[in-house]
Amino acid sequence: MADRLIYLDNNATTKVDEKVLEEMLPYFSENYANPGGMYDFAGKVGRKIADAREAVKEFMGANDQKEIYFTGSGSEGANTAIRGVVNQGYGKKHIITTKVEHPCVLNTYKDLEKQGHKVTYLGVDADGNLNMKELEESIRPETALVSLMAANNETGIIFPYEKVAEIVKQKNPDTKVFVDAVQAAGKIKMDFKNTKVDFASISGHKFHAPKGIGALYVKAGTSFAPLITGGHQERGKRAGTENTASIIAIGKAAELAYDSLGEELTRVKKLRDKLERNILHNIFNARLNSSTGNRVPNTTNIGFEYIEGELILLYLNELGICASSGSACTSGSLDPSHVLRAMGVPFTALHGSIRLSLSRFTTEEEIDFACEKFPEVIKKINKLSPFQKELAELESIRSHQN
């Protein structure tokens, strides 16, 4: 293993911020009370949880603390919202979502389909954007839920969820809207109170809180059936003793992420753009798998034609660079990325696509090192490819373009 660690996989998970860790630690062995207790020792913890809820409320742009429910993960948040709506018992059996959602959402719909629900999967264009007209036409009187992500985990492409919610409510005010905001949290500003979105979920470990904590925004007045029944915690909507230390951590992380949004849009974006520009300029068989436009500032997805993604990752790993691929092999499934397939990324680049995702902890030196090493790595792998003729043609085309 390399001594160096250049972590460019922040859409997978992030490092816990030291300040977050410091904030949460006393709530393990020092202030360990169950916040439900009737004594000061518990009240102290309860107040701290209220502070965290306030911070998450601000972070998500909610109106009221009561709109924030703590969960165990982004997947739990999605399941709570989706199943919460369908189990509420309105009897509506139709759901609309997109083909590029995260598996935690897609597999939940696969499960609901088995139970008799009808699901419409909306496609995207080559840039990863939704067709709003198609969306509008899909909304029916019996549509219970429209569910879409705020930003895509693989490409970073942002969906216009505010606009989608407007269209949905205009066409059918009874249809609920759920936004999977996991990859938007900490990267772009969220302001759910000024939208018609009913549910939105986030996950702490994507913005420097620990793993195992998330939050669900539910617009005031929206009813939903709880996923986990039991005690009165989270206003009866999510039973189980509060994960106090992690709740406090997500509160602190939300506060820090909120304050860093400006930095994400400037410094982090600048580094991402530099890395992307360098790779696309210096490597003839590299192509950007989305438009440059409407994306979160930390993510880029690049396809390397005629070579395979896992090998790229293994060679990068030798240099201490951590990245990930939508490619089949790494995720354990053999199918190439469903997101890139939905976008129609050509097969020549589909299996060689790499996601690079930065964070506010990424430094300029790290990006410079990656910029320097990428062409070497790709050159080495190109040499192994059985598609030498195709690569040569591509090189000649690109050199004419430049």
């Binding site: 005629y306 053999l334 199918d335 192994l384 490819s385 598609f387």
Partner: protein, 267 residues
């Protein structure tokens, strides 16, 4: 992160025999760009049929590169007919193992080798011979699936996916794979002639002969032809009037230990 053996790691980092042979005597290809892995194998074969050089080009993951690399090392210096006997299992063994989900990489190595040898002999392309495609996503044929089930003694659809990729895409062909598995499972284990003879004579030695020898008789296995087992009595048994009874006894024992449809014929 996959748990690759040191050998696999070493080989994808520093592959041996990567590249192409311009004046190759045989070229074999397996996999495709759409499937996500592809291997092109080049062979140089001398007038005695010895593989004097082998090179590969691989589009694929770490274990695909390692499988290709080790394959070239294994076959250089080998007679082409000897190389034909190499199975994907041999490739896996040389690598010190592969993660289950990566077994198909070794299968790809084996397929490319098969194709190259067929090319050398000017035989019909392997891919043309194996027509019926079961898995549309990864273009896997019924013959490939059957071959892998037999060679690697696969028992579940999941294992078939790990070895052949079939069923790893949309998953529509999983029931078809299950049917093939059932079909192969119901086949009687195909034994070679030698294995059959060995098996029958073991049963005779253990259960039949000791009884006959008690009466100073003996029995000898003459031949096997399908379910027909030809035997000859020796010693006292050969002249015994009750030989038909003894034959029936031998048949009963063999039916019990080998197969119900066995017929014993006295010669």
């Amino acid at each position: 992160m996959w748990e690759y053996t040191d050998k696999v790691t070493d080989l994808y980092k520093n592959p041996k025999n990567a590249g192409m042979i311009d004046d190759a005597d045989a070229v074999g290809e397996a996999g495709s760009l759409t499937c996500g892995d592809m291997l092109k194998l080049y062979l140089k074969v001398d007038e005695n049929g010895i593989i004097t050089d082998a090179k590969f080009q691989t589009f694929g993951c770490g274990s695909a590169v390692a499988s290709s690399s080790i394959l070239t090392e294994m076959i250089i210096g080998m007679h082409i007919d000897e190389a034909r006997k190499i199975t994907n299992k041999d490739i896996v063994d040389e690598l010190g193992g592969l993660p289950p989900a990566k077994m198909h990489c070794s299968v790809m190595g084996h397929e490319a080798l098969e194709a190259a040898i067929a090319d050398y002999y000017g035989e019909t392309c392997v891919a043309e011979k194996k027509e019926k495609i079961v898995c549309q996503c990864f273009n896997v044929t019924e013959d490939t699936i059957k071959e892998q089930i037999r060679t690697n003694n696969l028992k579940t659809v999941e294992e078939v996916t790990e070895f052949t990729k079939a069923g790893g895409g949309c998953g529509h062909c999983k029931s078809a794979i299950e049917a093939i598995l059932k079909e192969i499972r119901s086949e009687k284990p195909a034994l070679t002639k030698t294995q059959e003879i060995l098996k029958v004579s073991k049963v005779i030695e253990k259960y039949v002969a000791p009884e006959l020898r008690k009466d100073n008789g003996d029995v000898e296995l003459v031949d096997i032809d399908g379910n027909k087992i030809y035997i000859k009595f020796a010693g006292k048994c050969s002249a015994c009037q009750k030989s038909q009874l003894t034959k029936n006894y031998v048949e009963k024992i063999l039916k019990k230990h080998i197969s119900e449809d066995i017929e014993v014929i006295l010669v």
